[in-house]
Structure formats: C-alpha cells, structure tokens
Amino acid sequence: MPNVTVRFFARYAELTGCESTAVAVPPTATVSDVLARVRETVPGARSLPPRPLAAVNLRQVKLDARVSDGDEVALLPPLSGG
C-alpha cells in the first residue's frame, strides 16, 4: 500500500495538533481518500473543512488527483499571502 506524508499548516496544524502524519492508502487512492484516512487517524482532523485546498509534491491539485507512494500531500487553509 502506498505511504504518503500529510502536512498541515497554520490553522489546520492548530486544529489537528500536529504538523505532519503518515498514512497508508490503497494503490489507486486520491487526495480525497488520503483526507478520509487522515480524518480517521488524526484526532482533531474531523474539524477540517470537507473540501480543503490541497497540494501534492509542492503543486496545488484537485481532490480527485491520484497519489503515489512517497508523495507529500499538504492541506492548505485559505491562502493569505502578500
């Protein structure tokens, strides 16, 4: 089963109480599947919004994007740079 690292930032790191976790997902998993797995395994992750912004390997992606073994998935609160 592919293993991915999931990183949380800013308000999401506060909600989950951690900055990263690792989850195992089925071979054809998408970012949505990763998110579902995170909700099951990380206390506090249930408070994440249903459809957060996400990135895989430093690029923003839609939630139906596929993930592969070793990917870094990031869940991003609404962006407010500048």
């Binding site: 506060e14 990031a74 609404p78 962006l79």
Partner: protein, 145 residues
C-alpha cells in the same frame, strides 16, 4: 541573489539592484505593509516554505515569458511583522514603464492567489485571528503559542 523568503526586514534597495540596468528605463516597486485594521498590532506570517519558493519560481518564470525584456523579483517576509512594516516587496524593471507596471501587477495578483502563506492578526488585547480572504470570519482565538 536575495532569498525569496526572509524573516528579516525587507531591503528594497537590494532587490532593486537585482533588476535595474542601463537598458531598463522604467522601474516599478510595490510594497505591501501591515495595516492597523481592528486594533491589529502585528501580523504573524507562516508559510509552506518549499512550496512557496517553488510557486514563486513558477510565477516569476511566467512573468518573464510574458514580458521578456522585464526583470522581476520579490521578497516575502515571514514571522511577526509590526504594523507599518513591509510583508512583501515586488520590483520590476523594463525598458519602458508599461511593462514594468504590468509585470509588477501580475506578480502581486498571482502571489495573492497562489502562495501557501498564512497570516494571523495579533490584536492589542492579546487575542489573535487567522485571516481568511474568502471573507468568512474565523473565530477569534484566545492568546495562543
């Protein structure tokens, strides 16, 4: 070359030195500074550093494609920034002003939409608020970390 992300005050002169040259007669500099909205005393900026740098490289490359004669760079400050100090500076120099203004404007708009950077407003009474530009107020948290 200056780092795109810094925790120190932004030195605009150093950024200008990177883009200006004798063939570029128009230079446009944009600075975003922390505003004193709602008794805000400072803003704490945090980032997904690796992705922010990758995204900055991508959007500067796009600006270069659109305005090949322009040179553009930027610096974003992170950490706690007091009211009145700059959180971002973008400088663009081109042979003529139109391209300098256009490239500078392009970059700040893309920064706002794409950089994985977050701000938390710190208020005079010790509370703090995460900023959500989509307009939904986020509950004001008690003083934390």
């Amino acid at each position: 070359m200056m780092a795109y992300l810094t925790v120190h005050p932004i030195a605009v002169e150093s950024l200008l030195a990177e883009v200006q040259g004798p063939e570029r007669g128009g230079t446009c500099a944009f600075m975003g500074t922390v505003r004193n909205d709602d008794d805000v005393t400072s803003i704490e900026y945090s980032a997904y550093d690796e992705m922010a740098i990758a995204e900055i490289e991508r959007l500067l490359a796009e600006a270069h494609q659109r305005w090949p004669e322009a040179r553009v760079t930027l610096q974003h400050r992170l950490g706690t920034i007091p009211v009145g100090e700059a959180s971002i500076a973008i400088v663009a120099a081109a042979p003529h002003r139109d391209a300098a203004f256009a490239a500078c404007r392009y970059v700040i708009e893309e920064v706002k939409h794409r950089l994985p950077i977050w701000k938390k407003e710190m208020h005079a009474d010790g509370t703090s608020t995460w900023v959500d530009p989509s307009g939904k107020p986020v509950a004001r948290a008690s003083r934390d970390r």
